[in-house]
Symmetry: C2
Subunit: 222 residues, 2 copies
């Protein structure tokens, strides 16, 4: 991601989103009237992957627009709604945006549960699609599941752990589904640097990754 370039950024009204469809529920809780706005979000799977040949974890690195826009949220708040941000490379407002690298995250290999197959089979597909490894299902072990969110969404995230070897690498695979616009970089994190990495707040990481690494450190006493 050293050559990441973000240009011609505009914030526009979000009309008929395929991905964010708010609903509102009205109900009585023990007689008291309540209202709550929420989103139905698909469940997900994620996998902490350890390459035993290289003694390194396999993560995916990508530019996340939602993280980048959160970093730039002050600019956004001033200009959202009726007056969206409209930023060109030659605009002075482009200079107000954070460097594009602020939107780069380190994540576990993960996917959305959008097919009617087992979670393990889905995880195996994602390991090939994102990381370029053909991993036997018997190498993929469920850790546990929990709620990815509880405030606006309530979807379930199932966490897996897999050990892989260089023999499982499929040449030319990995990098995400280009048809879906994914641009994913495989990132090797050496075991001996992993604890420092997890607590390095300059590297953007989601909670699911944090949980999986702490599970690993606890289990394998490293």
């Amino acid at each position: 991601m050293d050559n990441l370039e973000i240009n011609d950024l505009h914030v526009v009204p979000c009309v008929n989103s395929r991905f964010i469809q708010p609903s509102r529920v009205v109900f009585k809780q023990n007689g008291g009237q309540r209202t709550w706005d929420y989103l139905i979000v698909q469940n997900s799977v994620s996998c902490l992957v350890f390459n035993t040949t290289r003694q390194a974890f396999i993560l995916v690195k990508q530019f996340r627009p939602a993280v980048y826009m959160h970093v730039n949220r002050k600019l956004h708040n001033k200009n959202s709604g009726a007056n969206p941000v409209s930023v060109k490379a030659d605009d002075s407002s482009m200079k107000a945006l954070a460097d594009a690298s602020a939107g780069i995250t380190y994540e576990l290999c993960a996917g959305i549960v959008d097919q009617n197959i087992s979670l393990k089979s889905l995880m195996k597909q994602e390991l090939l699609e994102e990381c370029g490894y053909n991993v036997p299902e018997e190498n993929i072990h469920k850790i546990t599941s929990c709620r990815a969110g509880v405030g606006s969404t309530g979807s379930v995230q199932t966490s897996f752990y897999a050990e892989v070897t260089d023999d499982m690498i499929i040449d030319g695979a990995g990098g995400g589904n280009l048809n879906e616009g994914e641009r994913i970089e495989v990132f090797y994190l050496p075991l001996e640097k992993s604890r420092e990495f997890v607590f390095d707040e300059t590297k953007e990481k989601p909670l699911g990754l944090m949980f999986a690494f702490m599970w690993y450190f606890d289990k394998f006493k490293v």
Copy 2:
């Protein structure tokens, strides 16, 4: 929460939500056109609290509408949008809803960063408001921060750890901000049952709690 009663549940169109305001960003990433829908969500703080007098963790237990609606999402999908779910206690469709207990979660004491004070001061306020403990700030230690989400939101969650004693209990405090409709129950989890609890998938828990407990188990070797 043994007497939890949910009645007269309706799903209605979500118009002008104060809480869910989607935006859309359009940009070029290394020359390729991309579009992403996202939400600006406020940052949050959460705290793993251990009561040394009782040798028990202090969690909060509450009914989470978003979790409950996710459990009932098949019903929702059939009826959302133009034909919202309209469910009364005497409707046959009410019987199709999961038992209200399916929406109960176990969480860390937590709060939204909506005031211009230090994160530690905010955490202290939440410990009083939700748990009913007056905790000195020097007892509240930052663990780390990470992204609560990376897909649709990119907000930062900062995790804390605090040891407290029964001496810090303020009679009559705790239970959440009733003005905001919070109905929170304090839940004591004995240390010796905590590992079993964390991996009990019948207890609904968010990722932030899972991370904090694994951090604790790793740090204190329990």
